[in-house]
């Protein structure tokens, strides 16, 4: 597909890489010449220096026959304007990033009036993810499938499961969960039943919410939602997160160093306690109950500060720790630090767009409904909707030659959720969840070895 990408910042760069690797023809537009040059040198994309909202530039980029138009510049208004012009000039799907909280209630209206296919608010998405984590604090990462009915949950292996083979888990803990992926020593394994878990493993499993709950209870991991949270950094994520938490009767304290922003927050969030202080003031954090908080969320704009704050909080508190990290470069280092949950808003933006593009690609065929790239981009979890008969449907799973390093995790059929066994078949109308090490699966057909 032909994709025009306006904005070559962090998200733009990640998208350019990802989309070009998946075989799309990507044209990047940015006003910064150096940036464009860097992108064209690093990835197999075409670069154009210019203003993304000018028709001249857009024609130069080939807007007439573009399929997808993505606007991820730093300015919301510019993104919307680009998409609007692109829509008028060509026949493409527009995707815009809009972050300003004052638009957050008006997204539907904007979408309809301007004719944009999708609007992404990464801060709101990040806040939703953090809020999920705080409601189920035993997990370090949660992704949802099947409209939230099925969850992909990552957690650090507790001592109780050290040396246990995966096929023993259902009998031992009377829990119906499916282990999908294990991170060990910097690598990822999609395990079979004989795989023996070890201390230090990061385990990702798939289950419904109730079953995950029961499983964690068996393991004596925390399952009750946190009742209070200390948030450092009062940006947009903090605002969305606090709104979400306050609705769920969680008491919220926000530490923000900018006095004017504090007044704004105090006005917008009357239920939260806003504290005006530098979040890196150790004494202050301790005096405000860091030791007794049930959740500590580091959301400042500086990644290094967030990491340090979380490490400091880990030393003093037994609560749930969440760290926001903007830059994607050092994710492997962070994974080694045991920071609790790390949230990458930029990853989420990127994931969403890639997922959208893949779904567009095969509109008639078997759609990808949801896509998550888990475990630092090395594993993908996909949800397909089965629209038509194919090689993968109507055959008992035991006779299906699935690709290597691919696990068929779950079939949702109507309101039923099946953990698939050898005798089960995929039928038209099902939703199928697959976890794989292979990138770029587009269709359910691709899961079968040809």
């Amino acid at each position: 597909m032909k994709i025009i990408l306006v904005g070559g910042g962090k998200v733009g760069t990640a998208l350019a890489r990802q989309l070009s690797e998946e075989g799309h023809n990507v044209t990047v537009v940015d006003t910064n010449k150096a940036r464009v040059e860097h992108l064209t040198e690093s990835y197999d994309v075409l670069g154009i220096v210019g203003n993304g909202s000018s028709i001249t530039t857009l024609s130069e980029a080939g807007i007439e026959d573009a399929d997808v138009f993505i606007a991820v510049t730093g300015s919301d208004e510019l993104n919307l304007l680009c998409c609007m012009f692109a829509k008028k000039a060509g026949h493409c799907h527009g995707i815009a990033r809009v972050r300003n909280p004052s638009y957050s209630h008006e997204l539907d209206f904007i979408k309809k009036q301007i004719g944009i296919s999708a609007i992404i608010n990464p801060e709101m998405a990040a806040a939703k993810e953090i809020s999920h984590l705080l409601r189920f604090p035993g997990a370090s990462k949660i992704d949802t499938f099947a409209d939230g009915r099925v969850r992909l949950i990552k957690f650090a292996l507790p001592d109780a499961l050290d040396g246990v083979a995966i096929r023993e888990i259902p009998t031992r803990l009377k829990s119906d969960i499916l282990v999908c992926a294990v991170e060990r020593d910097g690598g990822v394994i999609i395990p079979n039943g004989n795989f023996v878990l070890q201390k230090g493993d990061q385990v990702t499993f798939l289950a419904t919410q109730e079953k995950a709950h029961a499983f964690f209870q068996q393991l004596h991991l925390p399952v009750q939602p946190v009742r209070n949270a200390l948030i450092v950094g009062g940006g947009a994520i903090a605002y969305y997160l606090s709104q979400e938490l306050l609705e769920n009767h969680v008491r919220v304290r926000i530490v923000e160093r900018d006095a004017a922003r504090c007044v704004e927050l105090a006005e917008q969030l009357p239920g939260a306690q806003i504290l005006n202080e530098d979040g890196s003031n150790r004494e202050f954090l301790l005096s405000e109950g860091l030791e007794s908080t049930e959740a500590f969320v580091a959301l400042t704009n500086i990644d290094e500060e967030n990491v340090l704050l979380t490490l400091f909080a880990k030393k003093h508190s037994n609560g749930k720790l969440v760290t926001k990290v903007n830059r994607l470069e050092f994710d492997d280092i962070l994974a080694g630090l045991d920071l609790g949950s790390v949230v990458y808003p930029k990853y989420m933006t990127c994931d969403y767009i890639v997922q959208y593009v893949r779904a567009l690609q095969n509109e008639a065929g078997n759609n990808i409904k949801t896509l998550y790239r888990i475990l630092d981009d090395r594993v993908e979890a996909l949800e397909f909707t089965v629209h038509e008969e194919s090689a993968a449907t109507g055959v008992p799973l035991s006779q299906l030659h699935l690709k290597k390093n691919l696990l068929l995790c779950c079939i949702t059929r109507g309101s039923k959720i099946l953990i698939p066994r050898g005798g089960d078949q995929i039928q038209v109308g099902d939703n199928v969840i697959v976890v794989t090490l292979e990138h770029g699966l587009h269709d359910l057909r691709d899961i079968v070895e040809h």
Binding site: N228, R251, R253, L286, S287, G289, E291, S292, T293, E294
Partner: protein, 480 residues
Amino acid sequence: MNYAIVFRLLGYVLMIEGALLLLPAAASLVYGEWMVLGVFLLTAAVSAGIGYALHTIKPRSKVFYMREGFAATSLCWVFISVMGAVPFVLTGCIPNPVDALFETVSGFTTTGASILPGVEDLPKGILFWRSFTHWIGGMGVLVFLLSLLPLTGGSHVNLMKAESPGPQVDKLVPKVQSTAKILYGIYFALTMLELVFLLIGRMPLFEALLTAFGTAGTGGFGFRNDSFGSFSPYIQWVVTIFMILFGVNFNAYFLLLMRKFRRAAASEEVRGYFVVIAVAVGIITANIYSMYNSFGVALRQAAFQVGSIITTTGFSSCDFDLWPTLSKEILVMLMFIGACAGSTGGGIKVSRFLILGKTLVKELKTALHPQVVAPARMDGKLLNHETIRTTNVFIAAYIFIFAASFFLISLNGFDMVTNFTAVAATLNNIGPGLEMAGPMQNFGCFADPAKLVLIFDMLAGRLEIFPMLVLFMPDTWRRF
């Protein structure tokens, strides 16, 4: 809140109270009151025992933050009052526990309001304990604790801040412990000095001790039914002068000790304090001259009463309820002004009135010239906004508490002057009010619920309201 460290501190305080209870026990021993001696020893043992048990709690973090400082201060005052009331009940001197608590709180908060109609028949040990609570409460239990314990970390100044009166609490020297020691040193030395002067006036040692305790803490429990009416003019003058001295900001004494006479004399608050006393004594002397027909007597009576009321001591050398209305009104106004910040006295404090006056002048200037930059200053330094704000909020809280108490007390069914002055006398830690709460009356006539309200007022007045109100904030009690 870090409960462990608060309980640990309460443990220390109760152990100290156990030790202090040995002094009245000694008094009972001297006078051969065996039953009272037993009660004091038993209470001391129980107090020390509970204290020891609490002090063994090991807190995870040993740091006092504002929250713990406030909570520890107010809880500590409640605990010592409850423990201090035990001897009154056990000896049968005050059988009703609420009355006993009232008497003890009145003692520790240096109010000096009594529910006892007659005190001359009380055992000596009990009389000693009553007056001794004034001395303990005057400078503060926690300040005493801080002077004893080699506590490390800067956070303990939060305890001193919560307990010491005044809009600004400054350390005299860099270390909290040294500051507390200096304060108690000055306090002890002045008490001794008064004791010497009283003994020179041929006052018996026991009575001289009780007088010194009552004056030093600006408390006001009498040990004769007519308070100081029947003492010699010399004794009355000594007491008058020392009451006024104990109402002076102790920082001034520290500056005198450091031979910084000019700075000590430059304190606007101390100057204002003496001006108010001089003006009040002058007017009242003129007003009551006709009652006594002697300038000397009128001056002495006026000075004694003014000194007693403005420092919130509450001794009396005559029944001032019989004075002309003008004089009584001046005394009621003095009740609210109170002593200097950083003294042992209560009331709103002279410095707060100075701050309010200066803010008013500043606002008037701003009204005339909206662009003017005219910051208020005190003692040559600019008053920061924070101080002005807390002073204003303090006054507002004071008025709310006063109004609420006034209403609750009026349910008791007494007249307005009684109710008004009863609240004023307890919230300002003075002791006697007017009419049924007057100097020759007592608070025994109030019903128990009214007494509980007054007990709260005494504690709120002594701790300057915020620590007591903080107890009612749910945030104080949450771990996070």
